[in-house]
């Protein structure tokens, strides 16, 4: 059985956003066992940073339909569908849908980029969830407007990349 690596999952972003890069790395490596697992996860703050990077500021809650199981027995493959009921015309369409997970080693899961030729702003995939956490979906329209929605998934057996 392969083991999830705890400390190595620390992302560059986390280090950058910590107080003082080198000091943060040192702290991360010498942390007491048990806390290590927590440090290797993305966090809500990190998700916020990624969202701000993408759309400038935290968008308001919007009508994004997220289809995810309430309880995922196997975190290795959690089915996800996202859909926005919006016209897909050359003048106005859904441009991106970004999926983030606030409890995984890195928050980014996938970014779907649409065009009017999609006809419908809808996509599905399967994702890994290491533990019970929130899946956050951010959408950006062609006029730059953004919105977000989130859903919690309870994970029975965590997906650790296997």
């Amino acid at each position: 059985m392969l083991e999830m690596q705890d400390s190595g999952g620390t992302s560059r972003r986390r280090v950058l956003f910590s107080l003082g890069g080198a000091a943060a790395v040192a702290t991360g490596l010498t942390v007491v066992p048990g806390l290590g697992a927590r440090l290797a996860r993305a966090s809500e703050t990190e998700v916020t940073e990624v969202i701000k990077e993408m759309v400038g500021e935290m968008p308001a809650e919007g009508a994004i339909s997220i289809d995810l199981p309430e309880i995922a027995e196997n975190g290795n493959t959690v089915p996800l569908s996202v859909e926005i009921d919006a016209p897909m015309t050359a003048d106005s369409y859904v441009q991106d849908i970004m999926v983030l997970a606030d409890g995984n080693p890195s928050p980014r899961v996938a970014q779907f980029r649409f065009t009017p030729m999609n006809g419908k702003a809808s996509a599905s995939t399967r994702m890994r969830l290491v533990q019970t956490q929130n899946v956050v979906v951010v959408a950006r329209m062609s006029d730059g407007q953004a919105m977000m929605a989130s859903k919690q998934v309870k994970v029975t057996i965590g997906g650790c990349g296997g």
Binding site: Q5, N104, P105, S106
Partner: protein, 108 residues
């Protein structure tokens, strides 16, 4: 890794203006870079990092994938079909490989 073979399902025919569903799957371990082998060494990351879909040569949909996407990545989406033509699907591997599949569609 087993030979990588993409699979795509596209309807063979559609009426002009129809929005059709496209389902894709590719066998790939999506090695996250977060795992260790038996001797404690980190297994290097190797994932499909990008998927793109084109119709008659024009890209109309793409996905950036990260290690949190499950192995054998499945992606489904829609396309509005206004004319007959050929879909091209491409998966980009971290190792530089590109896997491609094509499917044609006729107007009913």
């Amino acid at each position: 890794m087993a030979k990588i073979r993409p699979r795509v399902r596209v309807p063979g025919k559609a009426a002009a203006g129809d929005v059709v569903e496209i389902k894709t799957l590719i066998n790939h371990t999506m090695e996250s870079g977060h795992r260790k082998d038996e001797s404690g060494n980190t297994i290097p990351r190797q994932i499909i990092n990008r998927f793109e879909a084109l119709f008659n040569g024009q890209e109309f949909f793409s996905v950036d994938l990260h290690p949190s996407v499950s192995s054998n990545p499945y992606i489904s989406f829609f396309a509005k079909v206004d004319e007959a033509g050929e879909f091209t699907f491409r998966w980009h591997d971290d190792d530089g490989s590109v896997y491609e599949e094509t499917k044609s569609i006729e107007l009913a």
